[in-house]
Symmetry: C2
């Protein structure tokens, strides 16, 4: 599938979804739309992802693309009206439009009319399927080994770690798949339930449904976790995923130096040891998962030696193998996680 | 407010909502509709709640009522078509209709047309308000002491215990209110957010919003808990309430003799001691709540002495005062909970 990615004024540093799709998605990215960086190449900004030209707008996309993917989100998840012409032109050209905004494109009359006219689809990935329901408590019955990323906070790398581990496991010859639970993961994988948007009673059920669907097709499932079990706002989603996935193993993701919940700074993070106990004790009555590996995001540490030392300390606190999977690779983790 | 309660073929044993409203609601119940028990009185079936005649249908309700309240729910929460004539007649008489069904009355064209015509309201209590959002992490800032009921499973008495404690605290002269989180609690109190139906990301926020609204008006808030922190399907809601309420004290509710999660019998209940640790350890990073009392439902034990012994054992496991609040009253609990 050939796509263009909209990332106006935010590429690359504030375009998490665009970067995730460039890095992990199975799409041919023909162009990135960013009016601030038009004329440069993706590779001028980010070295290790597929390259593509950065252009002003849809009118400047030379290739014939199948879809336009909205790769950024303003605070609040609304639709920025400065993107309307690009979305309209995409639809007029017969392109599907993929969006993870809170604002659903399919509630926009202009877009739905154009999509109808040009026989193309609006895919609001944040809109949960209507047939979700409560968990039956059966995710533990699948054949696959289920490995869930959990975190000390939001945005500490759970999605990235899941993607890196699954990709490298596949490259090493294992049959591994990702269970996507958030908008970027869903866009990368092309399917999945946006677990943070489902009815709260269906949180575990929304994860279980995916595990059951894929659990006998693969040997390893890497489940993308969300939030943190001690997050004042989002712990419900974390807890529902923990119990819905009925994981066999957990990978605790953390960011080096982080001391408080982002955006909720009066809430200090517990010690790493405490997180291990909290996750394992809470999992135990449902699935008896243990934290068998850790992932530390050291992006803020410039010095490699400093990063290596942070990982060593993290490994000690966890009492399990750990790494920064982007900086130092996934070998140590996969050795611990795969049989 | 004068109401009639619809409970066809299920009063009293399978009419949990009807009974809760009769027992705790601030309504004058003029009639209960149950075609199976028509001609008898509520007091013929249940001794300790307000009395009312049981009648065949709306046509037999003599009094002038303000609302018809649907007091039962079939499995799945659908609307039973055998109730349609009663609901229509209520609306034709200018009565509001209050429903906690999954099936929203306001999506029923016949009902909405009749409600419009007769200037009355359809209140689907299970429909969350549209303006809910994520928690800000501020429930801990309110003046009131926040006391949350938590459970070893669903249906062990959390709603009942919250209502009994709040009522008896008020009768003893304390300024106490209930924060309702489920359909029956919401009907009883006449307001509240149905926390199990909100978007999962807003679970804690839906509770916080209520705590913040009432927290400076009262000295004590009794928050109605939901589910159980080890429930394979519903733990997300439990966790969101625990962190959203930022409780000061927890009351652990349990049913005597229960050994497995209802409907998920392969999941054994952990020990009571384990529940105490799980709830306290999980609360701690957000609000440092402790379990200061317990409530044991001994309804299945016929013998009072046996019940008393079960409560004693429960008290020992908890290491905190406990009682069956229906059987033995709330004195011991209130002494522990109120300053």
């Amino acid at each position: 599938m050939r796509i263009a990615i909209l990332a106006h004024e935010k590429f690359p540093d504030r375009a998490k979804t665009a970067l995730g799709v460039l890095r992990y998605g199975d799409y041919d990215v023909e162009a990135v739309l960013d009016r601030d960086s038009a004329g440069s190449q993706v590779s001028d900004h980010v070295p290790d992802v597929q390259d593509a030209p950065i252009v002003e707008g849809m009118a400047d996309v030379d290739a014939d693309v199948d879809a336009l993917l909205i790769g950024i989100a303003p605070i609040g998840g609304g639709f920025d009206e400065s993107w309307r012409d690009d979305v309209k032109m995409a639809l007029e050209n017969g392109c599907d439009v993929i969006s993870g905004l809170h604002y659903f494109l399919e509630n926009d009359e202009e877009f739905t009319a154009l999509a109808d006219e040009n026989d193309c689809e609006l895919w609001d990935v944040r809109k949960p399927p209507e047939d979700l329901t409560v968990s039956q408590g059966i995710a533990g019955e699948v054949d696959a080994e289920v490995i869930l990323t959990v975190g000390t906070d939001c945005s500490v790398g759970k999605m990235t770690v899941s993607m890196e581990l699954a990709r490298d496991a596949r490259e090493a010859g294992y049959d591994a798949a990702v269970i996507p639970t958030g908008q970027t993961g869903i866009m990368i994988e092309g399917w999945g339930n946006p677990v943070d948007r489902v009815v709260s009673d269906f949180t575990a059920g929304a994860v279980e449904e995916m595990i059951v669907e894929k659990g006998d097709e693969h040997d390893y499932l890497f489940v993308e976790g969300q939030g943190s079990i001690v997050h004042p706002a989002y712990s419900a989603v974390t807890c529902g995923i923990l119990h819905g996935a009925m994981a066999d193993q957990l990978v605790l993701c953390h960011e080096a130096g982080k001391e408080a919940i982002h955006g909720y700074e009066s809430f200090e993070l517990p010690s790493i040891r405490r997180y291990v106990d909290l996750y394992e004790d809470l999992a135990e009555p449902v699935s008896d998962a243990t934290i068998t590996a850790g992932a530390l995001n050291t992006a803020d540490l410039e010095d490699d030696e400093e990063a290596r030392q942070a990982v060593e300390e993290y490994t000690d606190s966890l009492d399990a193998p750990a790494a920064d999977v982007i900086r130092f690779g996934t070998d140590d983790l996969l050795e611990a996680l795969l049989e």
